[in-house]
């Protein structure tokens, strides 16, 4: 009896540690990914402008933001391998259960996107002055294609966990099997998650570009290349922000259709309600019983969920009762609600931070509309300190998406506790958790310092490269 309890506790600890590790490594990896997705497009656009006009400022912008892009890209690459391996290491029963389906978009990502991205980024970095101008320009656009394709496939894989489609259960093999790859790749969640991820990433890249430009304009230096960078960055932030709102709306509707519990958890809406309001802020616990004060927008939750002002939104209690009746016996799960304080506040912080940055962009565009840079210092500081807000919003948004899926690993099919590796103990997971935390913390400091140094150094005058020179145009 005692030993069984001990084993169960150890299993539980291993499960918790495996979840912490997945959360830590994924959030960390995804600090670098959005800037990659967004900045690669901006760099490609700037280089295109340079190739078409031959103007020096565009070359300077391409090089400076290209450098920032690359320092960041390296971290995305090395932390990405961990992602690919840890499904098998920590979540082997999950891998067994969904490998027939989930493995396909992952392998497609590798064959179509990763190879592409890794090859063409190498050609772009080291191809300056070695490849013909237009061929070199093509390599950065190929990189854009690789990066974006990669995003699509991994989001399609993730969408299967949110909304499993295109499969059948093979009970003899205890696993789900693929029956329709088209359905997996056109999952309604993926179709909405992809534009949401990409536009939010573009918004982040725009905010970073704005901050870099603001740093130099505040000091009245490099104005020739930093003023266009500022305007470009602000417009990008605004356009990315608008895209994030529109795609977020689509994603919300898809979520209500596929995971109603998650939308109910976003508002902590206990009872099924028509004309449901949306609270911007609640003081007290958000369980509806001890609410002391809240600011509410009437009917907004109904509108977000159904696009009608009086639409009915299903509540947590009804859904929970329904799920317990439907899945309780088979899964042994007694409560199907996610952790509400996380989903409630994460949803608000995600939206709120995005709105703040969009406002900064609009005001910035207005203030600098006539090319004026004699602005009070604090306005520049606001532009600089807004840079991390979009990535914070993105991170929090993912926490909402993934924590809102709990207690499911694959919605309706597999509870999280059932996916962990049976043969892997606390020792292994704890060792790897500590190792990753330590190395990731050190790298974060180094990368951040290097990034800041590159930003502060600003655009540099290009030395003309002598085609006959034996020197490598670009080298480690």
């Amino acid at each position: 009896m005692h030993s069984t309890t001990a084993v169960l506790m150890a299993d539980h600890a291993a499960l918790d540690l495996a979840r912490w590790q997945f959360g830590l490594t994924t959030v960390y990896h995804f600090l670098f990914v959005p800037l990659t997705i967004g900045m690669v497009l901006l760099v490609a656009l700037m280089q295109t402008a340079w190739v078409r006009t031959g103007e020096d400022k565009f070359l300077k912008m391409t090089k400076l933001f290209g450098k920032i892009f690359l320092i960041n890209f390296a971290m995305g690459v090395v932390t990405g391998i961990v992602q690919e391996f840890q499904f098998g290491m920590n979540w082997s029963d999950y891998s067994r259960f969904v490998g027939d389906i989930f493995g396909a978009p992952l392998a497609m990502e590798g064959l179509l996107a990763f190879f592409f991205e890794a090859t063409f980024i190498g050609l772009w970095i080291f191809g300056w002055n070695r490849l013909p101008k237009k061929v070199h320009l093509a390599t950065i656009w190929m990189t854009v294609l690789g990066v974006w394709l990669s995003a699509y496939f991994i989001l399609a894989a993730n969408s299967f966990m949110q909304n499993p489609v295109g499969f059948t259960m093979n009970d003899a093999k205890h696993r789900a099997e693929l029956t329709d790859i088209g359905a997996v790749l056109t999952n309604i969640v993926a179709l909405n998650q992809f534009p949401h991820t990409v536009t939010a990433s573009i918004m982040f890249a725009g905010a970073v570009m704005t901050a870099v430009a603001a740093y130099h304009l505040k000091r009245n230096q490099h104005v020739a290349s930093m003023m266009p960078s500022l305007r470009f960055g602000l417009w990008t932030t605004l356009i990315g922000g608008a895209g994030t709102v529109l795609s977020g709306d689509g994603l919300g509707l898809a979520m209500v259709k596929t995971q109603p519990m998650k939308m109910a958890a976003a508002e902590a809406l206990y009872n099924t309600t028509k004309n449901a309001s949306f609270s911007i802020f609640t003081w007290g616990t958000p369980d509806g019983k001890s609410e002391l004060f809240s600011i509410r927008i009437p009917n907004l939750l109904s509108f977000l969920s159904t696009h009608t002002w009086d639409g009915q939104v299903e509540g947590l209690r009804d859904l929970n009762a329904q799920y317990i009746a439907q899945y309780g016996a088979a899964t042994g799960v007694t409560d199907f609600m996610p952790t509400l304080w996380i989903t409630y506040w994460a949803f608000r912080w995600m939206i709120g931070l995005g709105v703040v940055v969009a406002i900064v962009a609009v005001v910035g565009l207005w203030l600098t509309r006539k090319g004026n840079i004699n602005l009070p210092k604090w306005t520049w500081n606001v532009a600089i300190w807004s840079a991390p807000l979009p990535v914070l919003a993105i991170s929090i948004g993912w926490m909402f998406t993934e924590m809102g899926r709990q207690p499911w690993l694959v919605f309706r099919l597999m509870p999280t506790a059932a996916g962990v590796s049976p043969g892997v103990g606390v020792f292994e997971v704890l060792t790897s958790l500590i190792a990753f935390t330590a190395i990731y913390a050190i790298l974060a400091v180094v990368e951040f310092k290097l990034l800041l140094a590159a930003v502060k150094a600003g655009p540099v005058d290009e030395e003309a490269h002598d085609a006959k020179s034996e020197l490598l145009p670009v080298a480690y």
């Binding site: 932390t79 590798g110 592409f116 049976p422 080298a475």
Partner: protein, 346 residues
């Protein structure tokens, strides 16, 4: 040929591609303290693989993902079972990748140049040698088999790290360590000019001889454990080609025929790893404990539908991948020498 057999071949192809390509990256990384007398030398070495190490490393990600898609049970059991060695490989690859990218940037943050570079150089050396050793340990153990048992519907590895560090596994690790090192040294002779090329050639001869002894022992040992394997004749043939091409490669290296030496080493790695896969078939992870728990191409496979879809993707993409990667190697074909290293890293 059944689809699962085809995918056994494709997975084998991807791992072989990884060992051929990242193999010489590891060899170059391990050579830093032996051939790099000063910073310029070391930069010459690093820049021989500068534009390509990332795409070479990508082969293992694609190999892993293909394993996941085509043989989920193999992927799940192997990756959870070989947990600690894989963790160490991951940490090493992280260290190596970051080091390439950041070693030349210390001056931008006012770090002590010498200490900064030396720290990252060691990350490159260790980040290259450790995976070169552990991939061999892992593959030798796959071929030899590990203790597995059925727990419910899952196949679970019941050993620990030390189960994997058996004599055969360790010998396999030493073979890949020395083979990749030789491969890297010959790659350096192919990609550099001047004194460093000569140093690499001489060292390649020495390391190559050690490799030959270790590899011969390992391959013969492997053959004797597979006398009744269904593809034994193929395994025997591939082993013979591997042995002959390794010896021929060393001879060509000695004769200063870099291109031929490198090509022969590529053949060596293809046939040697090919021999391991041939000996393994139809198993993908044999069990040394409960033989009923052994994983094979039949019980670890994905459904016909999934394998069919993935076959289309691989059939279209792999030729394309090979084409554009070959083009990259063509673009960066020039030799690197001390004269070609610019003052500042990018």
């Amino acid at each position: 040929m059944q689809l699962n057999e085809l995918w056994f071949l494709i997975v084998g192809f991807l791992f072989i591609g990884y060992f051929v390509l990242d193999g010489f990256d590891f060899g170059v990384g391990m050579s830093l303290p032996f051939l790099g007398k000063d910073d310029i030398d070391r930069r010459v070495l690093i820049n021989t693989i500068g534009p390509v190490w990332d795409l070479n490393e990508t082969w293992v990600i694609v190999a892993g993902a293909s394993l996941f898609a085509a043989f989920p049970e193999w992927y799940a059991t192997l990756f959870s079972g070989f947990y600690l060695p894989l963790l160490i490989i991951l940490l090493a690859l992280i260290a190596r990748g970051v080091a390439f990218e950041y070693r030349g940037k210390g001056h931008t943050i006012g770090a002590n140049e010498k200490r900064w570079k030396s720290a990252f150089d060691w990350m490159i050396v260790i980040g290259s040698a450790v995976p070169a050793l552990l991939w061999g340990v892992a593959f030798a153990n796959i071929v030899q088999g590990v203790p597995l048992e059925k727990v419910g519907a899952s196949t679970v590895f019941t050993g620990n790290l030390f189960t994997l560090l058996n004599p055969y596994g360790l010998l396999g690790g030493l073979v890949t360590l020395t083979l990749f090192w030789t491969h890297g040294l010959v790659f350096i002779t192919l990609k550099t000019d001047g004194e460093i090329k000569e140093r690499a050639r001489k060292l390649a001869t020495k390391v190559g001889l050690v490799t030959t002894v270790l590899a011969a022992t390992f391959l013969v040992w492997t053959l004797f454990t597979h006398l009744s394997a269904p593809l034994f004749v193929l395994e025997l043939g591939l082993t013979a080609v591997a042995a002959l091409s390794l010896i021929a490669a060393l001879w060509m290296n000695f004769k200063a025929r870099e291109g031929a030496a490198f090509t022969l080493l590529v053949v060596t790695i293809i046939t040697a790893v090919g021999a391991l896969f041939a000996g393994l078939f139809p198993y993908v992870l044999p069990s040394t404990a409960d033989t009923a728990a052994s994983l094979t191409v039949d019980n670890a496979r994905s459904s016909d539908y999934t394998l069919g879809v993935m076959t289309w993707v691989a059939a279209i993409m792999l030729p394309l991948v090979l084409a554009y990667q070959t083009w990259t190697y063509w673009v960066f074909r020039k030799r690197v020498s001390r004269k070609s290293i610019p003052a500042n890293a990018h």
